[in-house]
Amino acid sequence: MPRFLPSFYIFLFLLVAAAFICMAGPCETAASDVDSIIFKGADYLYKEQLEKAEKCFKEAVRLDPKNEFAHNKLGIVYAKQMRFDDAFKEFLLVTKLDGKNTFAHKMIGILYLKKGEMNLAFDRFNSIVKIDPNNADAYYFIGAIYNFRHNQAKAIEYLKKARDAASHEADTHYRLAKAFHNADMVENAMLEYQRALEIKPAYTKALNEIGWIYYNRGDPDKAISAWKKTLKINNRDRDAVYNIAKAYNDLALNAAKSGNRAEAIKYWKKVISINPGNKAAKYYLNKMLPG
């Protein structure tokens, strides 16, 4: 056997191994520049492939330890993996790299909320507003916290600031709508629920609340139609199912009370069709229907 063969095989093995490393490195990308690695990681993150995303962002911060965006993204991955302490460390590191990184401050505030530390969260969100008076997210969370503290006027004030700073966020319109709704400002609530729906037509929570506005205005048909729209988007939406069942149940009870047996049966049948487990409708139908 020729003497060069073992070294040839070693060379071949190293070549294949190198090719594998290049093809499926820590980040499973052939790219070596930080931006490309971050982009790959972000792509994995959006696709909820968290382990792959983690590898990419770890690789990015290894190559560029001061890359705030990569640290923030790594923090997000940790948070999604429920590794909240690790996430907290990443965001804290970013704020040390640059105290004006409002995204990291925001995430620290959110993690404080997660821990139940409302006052620390509140202070953190307020510090963001000092850095950036146009920060919609900070206003949003401050508004939400004022709402938790039952300070309606402040909640509305800050949620309006959030809305005015970034009118494209459906969640902001929804939370502002809820604050208006709780304050009996139904016209404003309706307007903001509708704005949330304009941005995100599948925002079922807004549709469900619009349903209650119609229902409380004495228009059950429009209410039911709103909840049915929710069910078209998500046929397992429990709120919509129970809301429709309650509306039909109320209509059936009213019909039964006024002696309109046929109408009552019609509505209880509708309850069953929407919520087959509804024992009230089953019971009353059995009682009313012959046999």
Binding site: I38, F39, A42, D43, E68, F69, N72, K73, K80, M82, D98, K100, N101, T102, F103, A104, I110, L113, K114, M118, I131, D132, N134, R149, H150, Q152, A153, K154, I156, S167, H168, D171, H181, N182, A183, D184, M185, V186, E187, N188, M190, L191, Q194, W212, Y215, R236, R238, D239, Y242, N243, A245, K246, N249, L253, P276, G277, N278, K279, A280, Y283
Partner: protein, 370 residues
């Protein structure tokens, strides 16, 4: 003109105009593509202002081109107009949610403060006008209250059980459902008379209301508090007294667990609770935080109510407990469940039958609310 000939001409005209329109939209898409390619070329040459002008033409020709919006975002970024860049990238993501690159760039730019783009003024819609008028009158009222602390404005009173579900039944036949309804009606009247709190009932007669409907009523009225009225029962006839419950993941005692199991037993009448597979997001965090707050507030309300019951009723106080009650868990506000006496205890059953004693119970609860 002959009718059939006329229809023939009309259809020819329709086809011709349809062809013209589709040809027109095709030409516009072609225009958009050409402009976008030109814009891309200008970006590469770092002629960002020219690129912006050309890309705006691309978008005018095809407003649904996520690619053109993405390029416009890049051009603005090159021109150091971050707010405009973010707006363009956002439009690209709205048009194509799979556009990871645009999403990433938005996140990267918005890590730090960016200037704001002022919205263009436009005439108000009728709903906006009425909302403005409402805001002017209502906000003054809200601000004058200072808004601090918990202010009960709307309470939903839930009379436990009803209809075919009689709840617990006493040795001489007193039914829980009848006592709870009477208490609820009395309490409702007292709150209405006070004029300070709006009250709503989950049922006003002897009919069965599913557990799911009860909290739905509380959510319907955006209630600040949900009070569920019950009468306790125990196999031991000697068991007596009043107690107040609030919702928690874990029962505070084995006894509390049993009471929750008893009250939840009606769940066999309802559809089982199906949990959707969840995922971590900010709204979820806020929701859980809110729920914990509600439960903490419920615990404080429970303490207040139990104190009122203790000082105004001749019943032994059994204290405040927590357990996982279905009827409380689904409420999107603080909620408590009161067990005012044991119907299984012959002595307490006898007093629970008396209208005067029921009035006392309703008064004690009302004092806790007002």
């Amino acid at each position: 003109m002959h009718r059939r000939y006329f229809l023939k001409l009309l259809s020819k005209g329709a086809f011709a105009s349809l062809g013209f329109l589709s040809c027109f939209s095709y030409l516009r898409a072609e225009d958009s593509l050409e402009y976008a390619l030109k814009g891309q070329d200008l970006i590469q040459k770092k002629r960002y202002k020219d690129a912006i002008a050309v890309l705006k033409k691309a978008i005018a020709a095809d407003p649904k081109s996520d690619w053109a919006f993405g390029l416009l975002g890049r051009a603005y970024l090159g021109d150091d107009k971050k707010a405009e860049s973010v707006a363009a990238f956002r439009e690209a993501v709205r048009l194509n949610p799979d556009d990871s690159y645009s999403r990433m760039v938005i996140e990267k730019i918005t890590q730090k403060p960016i200037p704001r783009i002022k919205d263009k003024k436009r005439p108000l819609t009728p709903l906006e006008s009425s909302a403005h008028m409402e805001e002017a009158s209502m906000l003054k009222r809200i601000r004058s209250k200072k808004g601090l602390g918990y202010q009960l404005r709307r309470v939903v009173i839930d009379a436990g059980h009803g209809g075919f579900d009689s709840g617990a039944v006493g040795p001489s036949g007193l039914k829980e459902k009848d006592v709870t309804l009477d208490l609820a009606l009395r309490l409702d009247q007292k709150l209405k008379q006070s004029g300070r709190i709006k009250s709503f009932l989950t049922r006003s007669g002897d009919y069965y209301v599913p557990l799911s409907d009860r909290t739905v009523t509380a959510n319907q009225f955006q209630a600040d508090l949900f009070v569920s009225l019950h009468i306790n029962a125990n196999q031991k006839r000697s068991a007596k007294g009043s107690e107040t419950y609030f919702c928690s993941e874990k029962a505070s005692s084995a006894e509390a667990h049993k009471v929750a199991a008893l009250e939840n037993s009606v769940l066999k009448f309802d559809e089982p609770y199906k949990k959707k597979p969840g995922y971590i997001d900010i709204e979820e965090i806020l929701f859980k935080f809110e729920q914990t707050l509600y439960w903490n507030e419920s615990s404080r309300f429970a303490e207040v109510f139990q104190q009122k019951l203790e000082s105004h009723l001749p019943f032994k106080s059994r204290g405040v407990h927590s357990a996982n009650f279905y009827v409380l868990r689904r409420a999107k506000m603080p909620s408590i469940l009161l067990e005012t006496g044991f119907v299984s205890n012959p002595e307490e059953e006898a007093v629970l039958k008396q209208p005067g004693f029921r009035e006392k119970i309703a008064n004690s609860i009302a004092m806790g609310l007002l």
